[in-house]
Amino acid sequence: MMVPLLRAELRRIVGRRGSFWGAIAFSLLITIIAVLAATPDQDDTAVEIASAAGRYSGILGIVVMGALAGSYDTANGTMRYLVLTGVPRWKLAIVRLLGMMLAVLPMAVMILVIAVAWGSSEGGMTGKDVLESVWAVLCTLWVWGLVAASVGMLMRSNGPAIAVGIVLFFGGALITGLVSEYISKSLANYLLPAVFEQVAALDTPDDNSDIKLALGGAFAVLAIWVAALTALAIARTNRDEY
């Protein structure tokens, strides 16, 4: 039963061509600009530069795509007809989140193809570099895709959902910095943007960095953040009147 639902969800996401293809095109454009403009060295390899450019620019598109995936049906009035099919509401919500995780894959693949191709042409690329880049890209797009879709489900309206998603990403880094500077450095390490960065980069704590959480702990905190947001979104979908 899940497969046809996922297929239908993907059809809905891809059907919103502006947000889907716009997100991919923007991310690819920035990745290509990075390839043309940057000079790789031992610290920043070609594959790292390209994948970082792709995933960070991709977040913007993913936030729009995810917020729309989460809020569109409620805002558009189609949610009540999905509920009327008799499929449990929690299942509709989970399908939406899983659909978002699948919908980011074309973008991830395209970013990685460019990154690996550039890395190969520059030489000196290791398997570890490639695996780290694959992880960083997937982690970024999945985390922000889930966060944005959850925000969309919570907000129920397209515009506010996109705005909150964007603020959460860009403002989140600022808030983390402010908390770290003025309130508590250790508290800042538990905030979503901080743990996300640590997990995406697979950073382990050392004496010279501000990172205080062990990598396993960062994974756990990130999982709690994502699980809490998605659980709230599912709970709202279950509770709402349509």
């Binding site: 297929r7 239908a8 809905r12 009035g77 099919t85 449990p88």
Partner: protein, 332 residues
């Protein structure tokens, strides 16, 4: 036969506001049942509760013998619906939209896509994007979607909105055909003439309260009749006709028309009315019987809601409430 919908003391409150007020009714299966009332009277709220889209404040609902919300999934398994407006993904074609819903309803629903489109006359436009559809076409696509799960019960909220006269005719025929196939159809409407042409049973609702319900014929029979007089001097006619012995009251449905409400029209009443007008020198342009209409009954029950019904009432004007005549005073 078990009712297809059972409402038992159903109430819905939004804060202090009571949208649906203690409604109890059994909707018979295998018939077209209409929920009739002006805009904002609680029809859609009731439908949303019936379909598990909104919570009930108090009372209980059963659809196809299953309680809602307790067994909503089972209750809705063979229910098709349009609630408020038929909404779709405008960036997808009509057929792809139906495929999305069929994906949620199983393989049998896929098999119903082509016949459903055919039934509502949208086969030739099925590959066009829904964004380019007119409201009437979206209504028809909404019915096609409602038919995907081979429903025992169709719940259609204001289904004739946006349909042109030819579309209305087709729609009425389709509803009759669906009922002939043994399905139950529950429609809500504020258009009296539409309901009169489609429904077997109906309930009248105003401000969340159900005023009456029953078969169409019973409801019409429960009302009064009228003698309509178009005259050159309506003010004088109104005074004169209000004093006739059989008058239950008079009203002015149009500036030049006076209606004399009577319990049952007899030919000698018409003769008497004409003679009185003639003897008093009041010019008569037209003198006719007003038959039993649902519209008249509706106005009697609601105290004249023509204004609220946005001119959908034909010849009835706001303030159609009548002045009681001698027969009415005698009855009291």
């Amino acid at each position: 036969m078990e009712p297809v919908i059972s409402l038992n003391n159903v109430t819905k409150r939004f804060g202090q506001n009571v949208a649906v007020d203690d409604v109890t009714i059994d909707v018979p299966s295998g018939q077209c049942f209409a929920w009739l009332g002006p805009n904002g009277c609680g029809k859609t709220t009731l439908i949303r509760m019936m379909l598990g889209l909104a919570r009930i404040s108090s009372g209980s609902i059963k659809v196809r013998g299953r309680s809602v919300p307790g067994q909503t999934q089972e209750a809705l398994a063979r229910v098709g619906a349009i609630v408020e407006e038929p909404r779709f993904y405008p960036y997808l074609s009509g057929r792809k939209n139906l495929e999305i819903w069929a994906a949620h309803q199983g393989a049998d629903a896929y098999a119903q896509i082509a016949p459903s489109l055919d039934r509502v006359g949208l086969t030739s436009r099925a590959t066009d994007k829904v964004g380019g559809y007119s409201l009437g076409m979206r209504q028809r696509l909404g019915v096609a979607r409602a038919l995907l799960n081979d429903p025992e019960l169709l719940v259609l909220d204001e289904p004739t909105n946006g349909l042109d006269p030819a579309g209305l005719q087709e729609f009425r025929n389709m509803i009759k055909e669906l009922v002939r196939e043994g399905r139950s159809v529950f429609i809500s409407s504020h258009i009296l003439s539409e309901v009169e042409l489609m429904a077997d049973h109906l309930a009248i609702i105003e401000k969340g309260k159900m005023l009456t319900h029953g078969s169409l014929d019973d409801l019409k029979r429960g009302g009064t009749h009228a003698i309509a007089v178009r005259t050159t001097d309506p003010d004088a006619a109104e005074r004169l006709l209000g004093a006739l012995p059989f008058s239950l009251g008079v009203s002015r449905p149009a500036p030049d028309t006076v209606n004399v409400k009577v319990q049952e029209i007899q030919d000698d009443m018409l003769l008497h009315t004409g003679r009185e007008l003639f003897q008093n020198g009041i010019g008569v342009i037209e003198l006719r019987k007003e038959g039993e209409t649902l519209e008249r009954r509706f106005l009697e029950l609601t105290g004249g809601l023509a204004g609220e019904l946005g001119g959908r009432m034909g010849d009835v004007t706001p303030g159609g409430a009548s002045t009681p005549g001698p027969a009415a005073r005698e009855q009291r």
